[in-house]
Symmetry: C2
Subunit: 326 residues, 2 copies
């Protein structure tokens, strides 16, 4: 392990939904944050977001030194990135915009400062072409929304990203409590969005085909397989689904029926009529409940589940991750 | 609502994995259970299963009168179903076997006794052809494994199933704490197994294509979208994903990119080589942990999550379901 400077000060570029959520998380983890955005009212919106998120972050656990007062804001890019140890970039998803931005950042930053992009739709191999001098310090660090709540960060390098950058990005995110995964190939949607798309396709199909209502398909997911996916991943659940014979026995039993079942899955087309059917069915499910009430319901259980999972992980492997990252 | 006899005594036909788990659940809910199976040692295996499951059931909540001593066992079908209010059938998934069995049951049981099948692979329209006198009381009541832990029950009628049977089955399962969904069409795999298959297809593809390891795809699911699916269903999450504009705004933003992303999803072929790659990657993830340790980890978080969800539901809508079913 090389002896790199610890990351204490982070620049946030772009303070829309994702950038604001990263800001709140970094502050809660005791970091110094300098945010920049050229939108009018960006600073006020950002500070409001952080204030609103703070009770949730407090519940999930503040680090020593965590404070909203560690947030600085400037509309000037050069000032924002001066003296930072890492940049988390959340700009618009346009390749020309990003390449130009990475060129500017490459000129402003010392070569050992990581530039991490929250991009979900662009490839780092294309983005880093803009950073001609030091493309090797550019990497995708894609959060699952919202980053201040959901632990997952997907890390993917472009063709010019160095192993050292990937390792340091993993260590940084892990040190602030994120769960990182490393993708060895650049794919549209990375991984988590693809898993969501695969599931949503069948969900929409079943409601569109009048097999069941939105309320019932939500019950089927969240009181059926979804309960387990909140606890463990598909591969490990398959291992346990094989009984004492584990994953080998699982495939012996299920590889063939599973393959057959894939042929029967649906391919819905989201015509305006299909969308209307889905929307109407959701409104029946929602009834008189407001968005705020439903968000509160979601977050209360979500935070409880994250606490359960974190407590269990600490019981099983006390401080393992912290020790490795420290 | 018609004035039907409450269900106090249930026959379990077939005491394999699913039948044994149903038995444990029904006992925990204070019901009398008579189980039957012609396999040697079936009774001893069943009683052992119930005993092993009892601490979990106690944690999830025993009903008044719940006792393992309310279990009777007989290898004789006619004796098993004598005087019962409902039959839960878990026989082999062979249509000839089931049709013959339903013929026998139809002759043995009064016409108002529901015959519910746990079948995942057969259609009730085919099964109920065997019950020539009263096919209308036959229905699929498909649990998500294991039924004594996971709340979901999928209810589907065949072409001859009556609305009254479906309503009574829903009321019965709901009264013992299950979450029921009603399918208006007979489809292979019902709903939950299809959702699992849709997700697993992409998971296997990503590992098979060396995008990431089994450990990482499990992290991506269970610390990303899976966390939410343990809390709420896809449709409601989409509604909240649309912000203040709800599900309408969600589709305005995402219908088009979602449709594009479906084209990029994978279609893996589970050749022996691909299966070996998946198996090897799972073993790397598992390391030295035993099946028992992993099961304990899964169940501890799973029970905690079910408690969280149940508590939240009771806060929001106190005793609504119980009042309706009572």
């Amino acid at each position: 392990m090389t002896d790199t400077k610890p990351i204490r000060r982070v620049a946030i570029i772009g303070t829309g939904v994702i950038g604001a959520s990263w800001t709140a998380l970094f502050l809660a983890k005791g970091l110094q944050v300098v945010a920049t955005d050229i939108a009018p009212n960006a600073e006020a919106s950002l500070r409001k977001f952080v204030e609103t998120a703070w009770p949730a972050l407090t519940r999930l656990g503040l680090s020593p030194g965590a404070s909203q007062s560690n947030l600085k804001f400037t509309p000037a890019l050069a000032q924002a990135v001066s003296g930072v140890d890492l940049v988390q970039e959340n700009g618009p998803e346009r390749i020309d915009f990003k390449q130009k931005l990475y060129g500017q950042l490459d000129g402003l930053l010392p070569s050992d400062v990581i530039i991490a992009s929250s991009s979900s739709g662009l490839r780092m191999s294309d983005i880093q072409l803009g950073a001609a001098s030091h493309p090797e310090r550019c990497v995708i660090g894609h959060p699952f929304n919202p980053p201040h709540v959901i632990p997952l960060v997907e890390i993917v390098g472009g063709s010019k990203t160095s192993e050292d950058t990937i390792r340091r990005a993993e260590e940084f995110y892990t040190s602030i409590g994120k769960k990182t995964v490393r993708l060895k190939k650049e794919l549209p949607g990375h991984v988590a969005n693809r898993l969501q798309a695969a599931l949503a396709r069948e969900v929409y199909y079943l409601v569109a085909e009048d097999v069941l209502s939105a309320a019932d398909v939500d019950t089927a997911l969240s009181w059926g397989p979804g309960l387990r996916w909140g606890v463990m991943g598909n591969m490990m659940l398959n291992h346990l689904g094989g009984g004492p014979g584990g994953i080998e026995h699982f495939f012996e039993q299920f590889a063939s029926p599973m393959t057959a079942s894939w042929k029967a899955l649906g391919s819905p087309v989201l015509t305006p009529e299909v969308q209307k059917k889905l929307v109407d069915s959701v409104h029946t499910e929602v009834g008189s409940r407001t968005i705020e009430e439903l968000e509160a319901e979601r977050d209360e259980v979500l935070f409880g589940l994250i606490e359960l999972r974190t407590k269990r992980a600490e019981t099983v492997a006390p401080r393992k991750v912290a020790a490795r990252a420290g």
